[in-house]
């Protein structure tokens, strides 16, 4: 092996959006690690200024096609906070159901098509289907059921149109929802099988002293409400989020990195953090199966995130079944009325990839005067780089291609959503003179 090696991935695959990895080694020492987010910036916070309050959830959905609901929901709650609107328990229940749909869809996609291929030695879910056809088909059906929930509640799975500040434009038809019950019940059983499958994977022995950050709620598994907690002892209301977390802008990225302040340390958000903090709030089946799966929580190995996702899919199915059974369509109103007024509001929810923060200021003209959006991946970006610095030395005995592949696998633990973070991620591995160019990239970078 040459003394100065470079590992690089010019275009990360099986992630949402565009990023690259660059790692430069000086002997066994990691000289430089860069997760380069080169996806072009899109400036949502600027577009939102001067828009109507009711337009915001339609616009913020477009930040991410994989998790539009997380953006819509956080916008709605934050604006309701500014307007002094409190939604009814029925609307809250439907919102949780919508969130269940998105968690199922997003997690099933990541587990089966994006992440499992790394553990099973395939370059894609599609090629994995040649040997693991049943597992892939099961995953696709789970994903489809999540999308069906989104369709019934939101009108469509990508960029739902039925989400409004105050509630829903139209309440879903209880008959349509109840017709989905057999599929949801199948989904609950199938997701238990998925957990059993993924918990048998071989996990690299790689632990980090993560500061796990997520929402925590005394009764509910955290989706749309709760206090912000961290392993380092933080326990604050959403309103204080910005006092403890700040976004910094680095040269290699069109996404903003978040840091915990004042200590300026990285932290982890996402399914592993949620399971670690909120095991007690999991649904009964999710908890029972999690206890039996052979991985113990709390875990500081983010390769276990695929297990955490599978547990959350069980949880989401079980909760969805309960919510659909309880729903009778008799809402007093599908949407709480409100009048535009000046004010400021913020909210934190849990997107599939982790904590998401929104703040809006409404001007005297009733239009959006200022918007701030902190997506999960920009919060994780610093942690991904910290992980790489610690992980790279463990893969030095492998050749460049294999070491690079392992680093990419590690990055996928985060299910990074680069489109989100650009309100944007890049892997390159630099081992010095030897060009690592096995790929036939049809584009130049």
């Amino acid at each position: 092996m040459p003394a100065n090696r470079t590992f690089q991935v010019k275009a990360l695959s099986r992630v949402e959006g565009e990023g690259a990895l660059y790692v430069k080694l000086d002997g066994d020492r990691v000289e430089h690690v860069e997760l380069n987010i080169y996806e072009p910036p899109r400036f949502f916070e600027s577009f939102l200024r001067g828009r109507e309050i009711r337009e915001v959830p339609d616009i913020t959905a477009r930040i991410c096609g994989i998790c539009p609901v997380a953006y819509q929901m956080t916008s709605c709650y934050a604006l309701e906070n500014a307007l002094g609107v409190k939604v009814t328990p029925e609307i809250h229940a439907l919102r949780r159901l919508l969130y269940c749909g998105e968690w199922i869809e997003s997690h099933a996609l990541h587990i089966h098509l994006l992440h499992a291929p790394d553990f099973l030695g395939f370059e894609s879910g599609i090629s994995m289907a040649s040997e693991h056809g049943e597992a892939v088909e099961r995953g696709l059906r789970l994903k489809k059921i999540g999308n069906q929930l989104l369709g019934l509640l939101g009108g469509r799975a990508i960029h739902p149109i039925n989400v409004a500040v105050g509630g829903f434009y139209r309440a879903p038809n209880p008959r349509d929802l109840k017709a989905l019950l057999p599929d949801l019940e199948w989904g609950l059983e199938a997701s238990v099988e998925v957990l059993r499958m993924v918990s048998q994977f071989e996990f690299p022995d790689f632990e980090m002293p993560y500061d796990h950050v997520c929402l925590k709620h005394p009764q509910e598994y955290p989706m749309n409400h709760g206090r912000v907690v961290s392993s380092s002892g933080l326990d604050v209301p959403a309103a204080e989020y910005e006092e403890h977390f700040q976004e910094l802008h680095c040269r290699q990225s069109t996404a903003l990195h978040s840091m915990k302040v004042p200590e300026e340390t990285t932290y982890l958000v996402g399914p592993l953090s949620r399971i670690n903090h909120c095991f007690e709030q999991l649904s009964p089946t999710a908890r029972r199966e999690a206890e039996a799966c052979g991985i113990s929580f709390p875990s500081n190995n983010n390769f276990h995130s695929i297990v955490a996702r599978a547990i959350e899919v069980i949880d989401a199915f079980e909760e969805a079944i309960e919510l659909v059974r309880q729903y009778n369509g008799k809402l007093v109103q599908s949407r709480v009325d409100w009048e535009p007024r000046a004010g400021e509001g913020f909210h934190v929810t849990e997107a599939p990839r982790g904590l998401i923060f929104h703040r809006y200021r409404i001007g005297d003209d009733g239009l959006i005067a200022e918007a701030k959006i902190v997506p999960p991946t920009s919060q994780n970006q610093g942690q991904i780089e910290d992980d790489l610095r610690a992980f790279v030395p463990t893969v030095l005995s492998f050749d460049d291609a294999d070491a690079t592949r392992r680093c990419e696998h590690m990055i996928r633990n985060y299910d990074p959503c680069i489109s989100c973070a650009t309100h944007f991620l890049k892997v390159e591995f630099d081992r010095g003179e030897q060009p690592n160019d096995g790929s036939s990239l049809p584009r130049s970078r």
Partner: protein, 267 residues
């Protein structure tokens, strides 16, 4: 069947939602992967098979100088180039920056603006290279995507409607919200393809499939103005996910200039 047609999916400035639509074809995905070789699709697979490609699906708009060059290289590699979605077809929501000072935009989002390189505009793929077919929508309709792939395999032109959302609304027997409730709805001038979703959920169409063939947007907005709809609201309505499509742009520019316009008439 070693010579399956090669399909490639490329991303520009976008939310990934339209390419996700291909993975959202849960029932058909494995069949599609059987019928065509998914040769380049970073979101779904690591292996990258070199071009040329038979079908190139382009998601996203051009917002950087680098991307303006990249699309030209891609065009040369693709026999049939299809834009998928509002970003690729008209510039997307990020085209709102075309109306503003991009430097000011960068400053307002990023603390260290000198690290960001971006063009002042977000433009449609067709503004840079010839496009063979476009799939509309924010996001696209996956049935239309399947129709596109099937038609290309069969060697025929894809069949997607060019009429307005109103036709779909009537077919669904949704009560017209513009007539019954006086809500400003872009259905009459927006291309069908969503199955008139928004009116069916008791809200206005906000034009996410872009203008239909020969729309008369200004006549429609004039009509709404006469009904008392606020001009600034109409500006925002026509200036969203397809803001940069010529017909919507013309209307929103006229509205924001608050110039009196000649009603061209036929609504």
């Amino acid at each position: 069947m070693s010579e399956k047609p090669k399909l490639a999916v490329f991303k520009f400035a976008s939310c990934d939602g339209c390419q996700l639509s291909l993975l959202d074809c849960e029932d058909e995905l494995l069949a599609v992967a059987d019928a065509v070789e998914i040769a380049y699709f970073l979101e779904a697979r690591t292996e990258q098979i070199a071009g040329p490609y038979d079908i190139g699906l382009i998601e996203g708009s051009v917002t950087t100088a680098h991307d303006a060059e990249r699309i030209k290289e891609i065009r040369q590699q693709c026999k049939f180039l299809v834009t998928i979605g509002a970003c690729a077809t008209s510039g997307g929501i990020q085209a709102l920056k075309n109306w503003q000072d991009a430097d000011e935009f960068v400053r307002s989002v990023y603390a260290t603006p000198e690290y960001i390189s971006t063009l002042g505009t977000s433009t449609a793929i067709a503004d840079h290279v010839p496009v063979d077919f476009e799939l509309r929508g924010c996001p696209i309709n996956r049935q239309q995507l399947l129709e596109l792939i099937a038609s290309l395999l069969q060697g025929r032109r894809p069949s997607t409607p060019s009429y307005s959302v109103c036709i779909e609304c009537k077919r669904r027997m949704t009560v017209c919200i513009a007539v019954a409730r006086g809500v400003a709805c872009l259905g009459p001038v927006t291309q069908a393809g969503c199955d008139a979703l928004c009116p069916a959920f008791a809200r206005e169409c906000f034009g996410c499939f872009g203008p239909k063939e020969t729309p008369n947007v200004i006549s429609l907005t004039n009509h709404y103005q006469k009904q008392g709809v606020d001009c600034a609201h109409l500006t925002r309505l026509t200036r969203s996910f397809n803001a940069n499509s010529p017909e919507f742009k013309e209307a929103s520019d006229l509205l924001s200039g608050e110039q009196p316009s000649a009603d061209t008439g036929d609504h």
